[in-house]
């Protein structure tokens, strides 16, 4: 029975990962699609492939999720289940409204809510949460400033070059590379959150020692789930980011993706779970700012910001309720 329940919760974690791909990973292709460098179908496959390629990179974010947000001894099947269900419910609600919120922060909020419902506020690890909270705000600003710098730098380098058509083709090709880099960054960051949850679960159920690394099968299944989610797309959100925040040219798309990819690689290396959605949105705003502030549609950007603010409390509240229901039922 225990094994059956464990497998069921792992499957739910992988479902969350799939939805993460469905909801978040589409961000990796928003700029490639909006600049018409790739067709939506090809762009999705390109992003899914590079999501999976993150298999070759580290697992520091997974370790942060497993041991850095909630005291590891609080994790039980019920807590993880409630956290996951809260995060999935929040993702579905925001997806229905076409809001590019963060599945990552929904997961963190969900785990926090379920843990607090079970063991009180003392079950949270303030230093870990503080690190994540700071980078909720910092990651879009880093993306914004880097994208602005990259774009101005590139335009300054090529401003005397007169063969505009050739330049345009070059930027379109470069955007394929930057989109791949961003998808790789997304795989290293977002798939690792599910790896972290499964790792925490396996440790809690005494299937692994407390200091264990992420098993290979957890890596492969998590990355497969997120890649499949990406392949099935989330077109409403692609539209919000790629077309509605600001109008993009290939050089702008390339700059936004390179800046966002650099941010994601840094945070993954540092073991900080950040939102790919936040990062790419900041980078797209940075690109829009090179033209003029009014090139950014602040109404849409503002809606996105509201979704960011509400994500952790929203997922926290849903998971809290789910955990209470689970405990009530299991009595």
């Amino acid at each position: 029975m225990d094994l059956f329940a464990l497998v069921a919760v792992i499957l739910i974690a992988l479902t969350f990962d799939f939805f993460n791909g469905f909801h978040d990973a589409a961000n990796s292709i928003a700029t490639v699609v909006s600049t018409r460098v790739l067709s939506p179908r090809l762009a999705v496959l390109w992003a899914a492939f590079w999501n999976f390629a993150a298999l070759l990179l580290g697992t520091k974010v997974a370790a942060t999720i497993a041991t850095g947000v909630v005291q590891p001894d609080v994790f039980t099947l019920g807590v993880v289940l409630a956290g996951l269900l809260g995060a999935i419910a929040w993702d579905v609600i925001t997806w229905l409204f076409g809001l590019p919120t963060s599945s990552s922060h929904a997961l963190v909020g969900g785990m926090m809510g379920a843990a607090v419902a079970t063991a009180g506020w003392g079950s949270l690890i303030p230093s870990g949460i503080q690190k994540i909270a700071v980078f909720i705000v910092l990651s879009p600003i880093i993306g914004l400033l880097l994208a602005f710098t990259v774009l101005v730098g590139v335009l300054w380098l090529v401003h005397r070059y007169r063969r505009v058509q050739r330049l345009h083709t070059g930027f379109r090709r470069a955007q394929l590379v930057s989109a791949a880099a961003f998808s790789l960054g997304h795989g290293t960051n977002d798939a690792q959150k599910t790896m972290g949850v499964i790792l925490a679960l396996l440790i809690a159920e005494h299937r692994l020692p407390a200091t264990a690394a992420v098993p290979w099968w957890v890596k492969v299944t998590s990355l497969t789930a997120i890649a499949l989610g990406t392949a099935f797309g989330g077109w409403r959100i692609v539209h919000t980011l790629g077309a509605r925040i600001t109008k993009l040219q290939p050089v702008g798309g390339m700059s936004a993706e390179s800046a966002a990819a650099a941010t994601l690689f840094f945070t993954a290396h540092a073991g900080i779970p950040v939102s790919t959605t936040h990062t790419i949105t900041g980078a797209i705003v940075g690109v829009g700012t090179t033209q003029r502030l009014s090139a950014v549609r602040w109404g849409v950007a503002g809606r996105v910001v509201w979704a960011w603010i509400l994500t952790i409390p929203g997922a926290f509240a849903i998971s809290w309720v789910v955990e209470e229901i689970i405990r009530l039922v299991s009595r």
Partner: protein, 70 residues
């Protein structure tokens, strides 16, 4: 009334202020990120201000009456 600073430099100045406010809660090992971002934001704020000043001066010299840029 003449604007003494453009909207874009102000925007980057705002980014620098946010990064500065976040220094205290940022874990010590990552504070260099805040500092680099403050430097970058201030760099662009100064450069964009200089561009705006130069544009305004050029406009005064040529007697151009088109509305100011972004």
């Amino acid at each position: 009334m003449t604007r003494w600073i453009g909207r874009r430099p102000l925007f980057f100045l705002g980014c620098a202020v946010v990064c500065a406010l976040l220094i205290a809660p940022t874990p010590p090992e990552f504070r260099w990120v805040n500092l680099v971002m403050i430097g970058l934001a201030l760099f662009w704020a100064v450069l964009l201000s200089a561009e705006e000043l130069a544009r305004a001066r050029r406009r005064r010299h040529t007697g151009d009456r088109t509305p100011p840029g972004p």
